[in-house]
Amino acid sequence: METRLIKKELLPGLIKGLAEDTLVYAPVQEEDDVFFRVLEKDMEPLAEFGNAKNAPKNFFFPQAETMMRFMKKERGSELERVPGDFPEAVLFGVRPCDARSFVLLDFVFDDPKYRDPYYMERREKTTIVSLACVHPPYSTCFCTSMGGHPFSSDGADVLLVDMGDDWLAECITDKGEKLLEKLGDLPKADDEVLARKEEMAKQAAAEITTSVPGKEIKPWLDENFDHPFWDSVHVGCLACGTCTYLCPTCHCFDITDEAKDSEGRRIRSWDSCMYWLFTRETSGHNPRPSQKERWRQRFMHKFKYFVDNYDAIACVGCGRCVRYCPVNIDIRKIAQDIAKL
């Protein structure tokens, strides 16, 4: 594995330089918050921040995208595939938890039976640059409980580690190597730096004090779909989409046709299991009639069904849903409470 050193003060400039001829997504400050955005000329990419409010999944799986267009012709109709001309891109500044979300989303969108062309094209053409969490930014971080690590390179093509004066850049994949070559002649890191990094990684993991049960509670979930425990989880839930929309691994979507006169388009857009419309059937029947069933679904999907399907928990422990839930429904507590049952 190639390792390089990048002078601390040079990194933002390098990213901005890259953005001159490449599509770059990077975290930027907007009013009170940090968001991943397409980096434009007058924007400053951040390298030192907690985490972005929006999840980076948005670039591979946008909130809404056109799948195809259709037109009514004199005889019959015409369908037009929306061309996949997505350019090569760089996604900069992803935290290791969020980078792991791509490994999980790949299970869904890169399934051997069905390969999602929209997600996959963007995914394959994008190089992901992760930033290790030398000090995990929030008390709500729990990546280590979900199979992640503040220095994990899962899902990343390049992992950057803040070594004080320099960024240590580790190439994880060929894509990452190509990107670093593009950044110019960078000095190699010596063994002392690498040893120091190993030490920092241990410390960073030790800074995460929250422990959330993951696969340990799976046997309970397998048996207790109807347990009275589920009567209390959702109390207070506003049924808004904040948790699912900010979640880096939530990936449920809806497909809708929008038409005007003789033309229209088919749209894929995010859906949320928190919404009452999510499973409502044409007849009016809803198999998940109340927020109780919807919350059980959200939890079960992450901690049971996804494990059944892909042997992984569909949560990376970023803590967004914990921090931003307007009524403080805490997925960590739900898992911890289940472990006590």
Partner: protein
Amino acid sequence: MENIEKQLREEARKLLSEKKVDALVGYEQGTLPYQAAPCIITEPEEADRLVWNPFCSVNLAKYVHDLIFQHRESQTRTKPEDRTKKVVGVIARGCTTRSIVIHLQERQYERNEVVIVGVPCTGYIAKRKLFRALEGAEPLACAVEGDSLKVETAQGSKSILIRDILSDSCLTCRYNNPVISDINVGEPAPPMNPDGEYNDVDAFENLPTDERWAYFTKEMDKCIRCYACRNTCPSCYCKVCFVEQSQPRWVGVSVDESDTQVFQIMRIFHQAGRCVDCGSCVEVCPMGVDLRKFLKKLDKDGFDLFEHRAGESLEDPPPLGAFSTYDKEDFIFEP
């Protein structure tokens, strides 16, 4: 504040053990030090879960409406003569009681279906302002000490004047004591500062159209259509919101900016004469959209045109629900 909390628990325990309410809506300590979460308790032993502190923010009238309507729905297949009423108790500050007044005026439920435990209010903390005051540091522990909030962060402890981080709605609140109640706890709270209530709106109204439009579009661009604002709003109780109707579909499902604007404009206009400025929509918004500016404009119009303040009293009919030959009509003009 601790005294109020103690009394609240006492009253809640009494109401539940005497079976005067079937459920009681209040706040409990959240899992984060800067959160008080809405909770619903049904047993007297649970009364000690209740808390009262400046983190109690969202308007609980929404839950009163939800609980009563869920109960009614569960009885749709019960013979009318066998149907029961569900009585819901609620811990209510001024704005919450005003929302209940609106529910009652709009005939959502009967007065005897709700038991209001009125609480004097000195305002709640806007989490965005708290984070701004901490300059990005994360609060690890919070404690109210007099008129300050003592916050522990990884960078050390900091004392912040609560007044400086109160929600904008609270700073200019005119009704921080309950307007109706069945039980009152604590002494009435001293008034806030409603004189400058419309200063922001006045300044905004005086801007040129293009600047106002630019501000509106900038704010709406932040919206991710999670509907937290609508879902926390006690005045947004439509069984099916127009954004979710599909025959016809009024609003597109994509993230087209005009669709988001239509949602927000429609929601805001539906609040004419019905917004109590509780600030819940602003507080729950994960994106920090300034909804208050636009809602407050309607509130101002309601007062200027009809001398009406939403939910102020049961006797004062809502402007759009009453007709008077003295209604102003000088805004109607020939095109």
